[in-house]
Symmetry: C2
Subunit: 132 residues, 2 copies
């Protein structure tokens, strides 16, 4: 499945600039479902029991800031829109093949600060995607 | 990843009866995140653009009824709890290895009625899982 994602979702090939990805509301909407899923999976792995949780905007906006992505957004972007941008980038990273669900899950389930773990995922996606 | 799910989430081995799965609130909670994700993926595939959508309880309760699972729940179970049961069974099916995200996505993205497509997924999980 993960090798075929670009075939399943050819629309992902239309994105070429990071600013396009970060401001795409449709991508943020799919990203919201994706991020809540991988976040819940990571919490379930750590807890040793099933957990479902909606991620808070503050956590994602903090991760975005720590990853150095904040300056790429318009100055007055509020925290909710910053979180949308992080969600859009995360699902872009998965759909484009830059990172797998497994690697995302392993990173999010590490000991330590969850915002740092999300920051690591965002940085991996930026590094591996040929977008600027 | 999908081959290692039982290692990542060993708690899945604790479930042995269908009635346990259908009434597990934690599993339903993780299942909610899982189902919204695969549902959004299927809608994105069909639409040819990213779509994020929360599934309505009515759709899942209808799928549960059509799959013949409704009689396994207490008689007065409302639609919301019926949807919870469907979500719990769907994520159980994925975590236990009965069905992959790819097969789920392919089934949900078929032409035709979405409740029937969910019904098909639920029946596949029931058939392949050795639960009763």
């Amino acid at each position: 499945m993960e090798n075929d994602l670009r075939k399943y979702f050819p629309f992902i090939n239309r994105y070429s600039k990071i600013s396009e990805i970060l401001s795409d509301k449709n991508l943020a909407s799919l990203g919201d479902a994706y991020v809540n899923f991988v976040y819940s999976l990571a919490l379930s792995k750590v807890a040793g029991k099933p957990v479902g949780r909606k991620i808070k905007s503050d956590l994602l906006s903090l991760a975005l800031k720590r990853a150095g992505i904040r300056p790429l957004l318009p100055q007055r972007t509020d925290r909710h829109r910053q979180a949308d941008a992080a969600e859009a980038l995360m699902v872009f990273g998965w759909l484009s093949g830059a990172i797998s669900i497994k690697e995302t899950l392993d990173t999010l389930a590490r000991n330590g600060d969850m915002a740092d773990n999300f920051c690591t995922v965002l940085k991996i996606i930026l590094e591996r995607s040929k977008i600027s």
